[in-house]
């Protein structure tokens, strides 16, 4: 027979082991979500870096469309500011706005056949589409990881550990309107 002391000891040890495992799992989930966010960040930066080049190229063929250029540049500045702040809601909004202005930019480009045929423009356009694809995949991966983390934080019994050690739920990165998810594409 086991003495009561031994039984209590065993219970405590197994409780301790469980706490350690649950804590480690939460840390791993949180780190994975943070890493996934870094992926999005890299791609957003790449997108923002592409835009000045794109604007310059379009300017070379359609210099008088000032309004559009100003809008795109403004939207880019906003998006960069939002990226710096790290606030997901702001970022989603700013990126959304940027996508809209880019759409108008590409619509303008439609009217200039020389521009559309320019190798440089085509290359930039391809790069941009590729970046938007990558942002979409990075966003998906991030959201999947955040979902795992949030489920772990909410569900019993890990929620006890989460609240003791102050694990916070993270926000999903969602682009609001479904039609904005598509990359701006130009038809030829």
């Amino acid at each position: 027979m086991l003495s009561p002391v031994t039984i209590i000891l065993i219970l405590f040890v197994s409780l301790f082991i469980w706490v350690v495992f649950a804590y480690d799992r939460l840390v791993a989930l949180r780190n994975r979500a943070k890493e996934a966010f870094a992926d999005i960040d890299v791609q957003l930066k790449r997108r923002h870096d592409l835009i000045p080049n794109l604007v310059e190229t379009v300017k070379g063929y359609a210099a008088h469309e000032k309004e559009v250029f100003e809008k795109v540049t403004e939207a880019r500045t906003k998006a960069m500011g939002a990226r710096e702040s790290g606030n997901l809601k702001k970022m989603a909004e700013a990126e959304n706005y940027l996508a809209q202005t880019l759409k108008t930019l590409f619509a303008v480009a439609e009217r200039y056949p020389d521009l559309k045929a320019s190798q440089n423009f085509l290359e930039l356009q391809k790069e941009l589409t590729d970046t938007e694809d990558k942002i979409m995949y990075a966003r998906r991966f991030y959201n999947a990881n955040v979902r795992d983390l949030n489920i772990a934080i909410e569900s019993f019994p890990t929620n006890i550990i989460a609240s003791i050690f102050g694990f916070k739920k993270m926000d999903l990165f969602e682009i609001p309107a479904p039609e904005e998810r598509e990359a701006p594409k130009v038809k030829f």
Partner: protein, 275 residues
Amino acid sequence: MTSFLIFIIFLGWIFSQVFDSPLILYIAVFLAFFQSFISYWYSDKIVLAMTRAKEAKREENPELYRIVENLCIGAGLSLPKIYIIEEDQPNAFATGRDKNHAVIAVTRGLLERLERAEIEGVIAHELAHIGNKDMLLQTITVTLVGFVAILSDWFLRISRFSYKREREEGSEILFIFAILASILAPIAAQLIHLAISRKREFLADATGALITRYPEGLARALEKIASYPYSMKFASNATAHLFIVNPFRGSKIANLFSTHPPIEERIKALREMNL
């Protein structure tokens, strides 16, 4: 390759029964383990040499690189090495011992005959194999099948010994049953291994579809690959199980003994997926 290793073990077991010497089995098992370990550790190099795959250059295949990069981001994997096999049959495989030594190889036919969404489906399936650590699982199951063979052998020896010594009433039926079991166990272990392999194939289909969010792409790709009428030149029995679809045509191996589930079932499962 797997079935080959198991065949070695099985052969060793039979010989050791016939010649009544356990040494043969141990040597066979040791060889099989050794080979299994080597082929696991150097899987990328061995398989690539066997299929004559050549490393794909980024400048020549920007689109392929783009697809793999995007899907890697979606799967949370680092970019594997990408190889191309100069072969008209559309097909692909992934190998490598872990996420950081992973290799994806596609045939020229895959790039030429399939549309982008279909190629994405295939690549996502291969990335799923890498992410699910299927190469490691494969190695472990082969090793376990080997252990089962050793255990059965031990049992047969011990039981023969004790059978001669004490013949008790009523123990015969149990005895025959035990002997039957130890004869059948290695075969059963092999069948379990194949069943696991088929399960992982389904799993990779599902995980891949989860990465692209478009199961129809992979379903159509499987249809196209399966409808290609000619066998692959550079594939062999040793590498056949790696490919997303069996590269040989015309030979219908029985369901129970194949490493992949039938194509029709895979397509059906993909089309029934709800994402």
